[in-house]
Amino acid sequence: MKWGWLRHAVIVGLCLMIFVVLFIKTQKVDNAGHEHMIGTIHDLTMQDAALNQNIIRTHHGMLGNYDPFVRAIAESRELQSDLMGNPSTLYRKGLPEVDKLTADARMLLDKKEALLESFKSKNAILKNSLRYFPSIVAMTIGDEAEDHGRINGELKSELSDLAVDILDYSLSGSDDVRMHASDHADEILEKLNSLSKEDRANVELILLHANIIVRQKPAVDSLAAQLLSLPTTQVYGGLNTAYDEEYGRVVREANQYRFFLYLFPTLLLAYIAYVLLRLKKNTTALHDAVEHLELQKIELTESREKLRQFNKELEKRVQERTVELDSTNAQLVYYLEDITRKNEENEMFVYSVSHDLRSPLVNLQGFSQELVAVSDDIRKLIEQCACSEEIKKRGLKMVEEDMGGSIRFIQAGVVRLSNIMDALLRLSRAGRVEYQIQHVDLDPIISRIVSSMQSIIAQRGATLTIQPLPAAWGDPTAIEQIFANLIGNALNYLNPKRPGLIEVGCRPEPETTANATLNVYYVKDNGLGISEQAKSKLFKIFQRMHPDAAKGEGVGLAIVRRMVERHGGRITVESTEGEGTTFIVTLPAEQIKQAPIFSTSEQATLEAELF
């Protein structure tokens, strides 16, 4: 846009410059100046013509005085210096031809003036003599003179002839006549001495004036001819033509410029019109663009409005969802609380049931012991009693087999019940006991477990490989229980047909979750292994895979899982039946950023364990 304006400014500036130049060019025609020059030349020509006319008049003795000559020369000089001044811009540069002609004119005027001065002088002398000559001749030889009788005869006729010849010569300028006159003059000169003083003086004057006339006449004629033949008219005419031609040339040139001067504004106007039209077109386009933009703006506004509404809706929906979620959360929290409460209730229930069942069980144990004692007493009585052997035999058999059998059955049931209750109490405790979370160095714990199990290891003939284990973050007691249980299990379920190999270690790459870095510990054996269908029930309470292999209540792994999950870890199993089992336990390597209060899975697990 900026450049556009600059371009227009440059164009307009250039146009103005061209316009001014053209205008100046057209102004070169100086009509007034030209008229002045032509007028001056005309005046000069007229002056010269008048001068020539006066020369002719003077030559023929008709002009009174020479003042007109003086004026003519002075005025011609003035006119010429006017011409030389070149007042017109037309000729300011100095045209060679004009300069030459002007110089010629000046030279001619100088020459004319010089000739004229000479002409004036000689003419005055000639005219005086011509005027005086007839009268002195008449005075000398006229009737009046003849009366005195002084000049007679031959001399008189000679003088008469001389007078005639001189006057003839003054008119004709004929050389013959002049020769005749000269002859007469010679004759007269010879006879001078015979004359009286007065006559002689007169005749001498006649001869003097005749001589003057003869001498001056051709000079004056020649001067007049020279004056009249000076090419002043040609020079002035040439000057006039040169000026006219130059004027014509300048006018033509100016007219050419004028043509452009007229053409130029037309073009300029056309250009301006074009620019305006284009501007208008541009404006229209701009207008359209603005309209379009406004339309787009409106659309945009609408879109924005839609978006806003959509956002609003979204927000509303999010809010709704949030509310929903909140309510769900609340529900969940409620459920969790409910579950926790139920769990607690369950644990309390388990605890109280176990506790409450303990007393009758103790009674059952006690009284079954009493029954054993009583059956011993009865057996002794029967032996002492002198009853028939038959009766004795039958009685003992009753005491020992029937009664004794029942008592043993009762006692076995009591023991089993007691064990179940202990397990339940342990499990209950595993969920409730408060952990002392700390940095736990595993190596000494494992060593302690291994040493406590030395006898059974020896008994089973197993080989334990303990790799150095990284420290974990948790409760040392719980962790000891976890590993003791897993190592115990491994020992318990070794395959008797091959030497047992148990390996305790840690996988080099820890597991990383959102909250913690978990060390991956494992306990691997080459024992009996676990069938696929058993795997799903492995961590449930009271489930035993190999009841024959070892004593137990089937709560160990359930407790282990519970403890591991309370630490925020997980326990999984990899096993192939008949080849061996690997339990994998993950425990936090360091403090968990946000210690899990509970996890739904844990809660679910507990419920799953129990029910």
Binding site: L63, G64, N65, Y66, D67, P68, F69, V70, R71, I73, A74, E75, E78, S81, E117, S118, K120, S121, A124, I125, K127, N128, S129, R131, Y132, I136, L205, L208, H209, I212
Partner: protein
């Protein structure tokens, strides 16, 4: 008129050509060989005044003794009546001082016509060692020390005091020195009673003898050159020929111009004796005799001579409205 171009502050003033007005010419021109002097001439009065002051200014001469007016005494016919004027340091001039009156009506200046204009003429006497013996730098230097001149020139001419402006002022004043309204002019203008019958007869004789062949026009002379000694050798008869006697030859070097002089005006001839360039003619009678002998080749008797002299006495007119003495 002049070749010197002078800038003038007062544009209103125009110097009209020194010639008879149309009123004077025309019908009279062909009728009479002599024309009357115009009664007025349009000139810048301030320049005329400055020129008059300069005309009387002795500082134009080297030793501050000679002014134009010293030799061209306006109270005495515009000349000093000496054969040869006394110049700076007591030197005597080579030729007789002509009257300054009506000098503007002469076609050229000086006896030998070497100056075309009055302006050019001023260079002559100011620099001539036997006249003012000065120079333009000297004159300008002196005038620049006179505050009245400085202010007068500055007022009239943008260029101030220069040789051109000095000459312009003096020449302008000299052009104002015309002597119109003579009795003869009145006669020429139609007042037949302005001159006496004797004077009319003198005029007729003036024409008859051929004096008018050279002494003619508005200034009764001063419009042509003429050889002194057409009919007889003037200088041989007079003797003691000087360089000044060579006349126009000194200007042109042309043998034809030997002893040629500007024909003097006879307007104030009655008042400006002695006569001729050499001042040898003490009286009009002597002058007429010499002219008759050397120029006309004829004899003029005493009666005619007296009549012609009477006619010559009708020619002086008035300066500033007062008859010239």
């Amino acid at each position: 008129m002049g070749t010197a171009r002078v800038h003038t502050n007062t544009a209103a003033v125009t110097v009209v050509p020194v010639s008879a007005s149309d009123e004077d010419t025309g019908k009279l021109e062909s009728a009479e060989p002599i024309q009357p002097i115009p009664l007025t001439i349009a000139l810048d009065p301030a320049k005329v005044a400055l020129g008059e002051k300069l005309f009387n200014e002795t500082r134009l001469s080297h030793d501050n003794t000679i002014a134009c007016a010293t030799c061209h005494d306006l109270a005495s016919g515009g000349t000093d009546h000496l054969i040869h004027s006394l110049g700076s340091g007591g030197a005597t001039g080579d030729v007789n001082s002509p009257t300054v009156f009506n000098s503007g009506l002469n076609f050229r200046q000086f006896w030998d016509g070497r100056a075309a204009t009055l302006e050019d003429q001023i260079d002559g006497p100011t620099h001539h060692p036997k006249e003012m013996n000065s120079s333009w730098p000297e004159i300008i230097g002196k005038l620049n020390q006179a505050p009245d001149y400085v202010s007068a020139f500055t007022h009239l001419y943008p260029d101030g005091i220069t040789s051109l402006t000095i000459k312009d002022a003096i020449a302008t004043f000299e052009r104002s020195l015309i002597t119109p309204n003579s009795r003869f002019d009145k006669f020429l203008r139609g007042d037949k009673q302005a001159i006496t019958n004797d004077e009319k007869a003198g005029y007729a004789l003036f024409k008859e003898y051929g004096c008018v062949a050279c002494h003619q026009g508005i200034n009764v002379g001063g419009n042509m050159f003429q050889v002194l000694g057409v009919m007889a050798d003037y200088f041989k008869d007079r003797g003691n020929e000087t360089k000044a006697d060579l006349g126009r030859f000194n200007v042109t070097g042309d043998q034809a111009d030997l002893h040629t002089f500007r024909v003097p005006s006879l307007r104030l001839a009655a008042l400006t004796a002695p006569y001729f360039h050499d001042g040898t003619a003490k009286t009009l009678e002597q002058a007429i005799d010499a002219m008759a002998k050397y120029q006309l080749g004829r004899y003029i008797n005493d009666r005619d001579k007296q009549l012609i002299i009477k006619f010559l006495h009708t020619l002086p007119g008035e300066y500033k409205g007062k008859p010239l003495l």
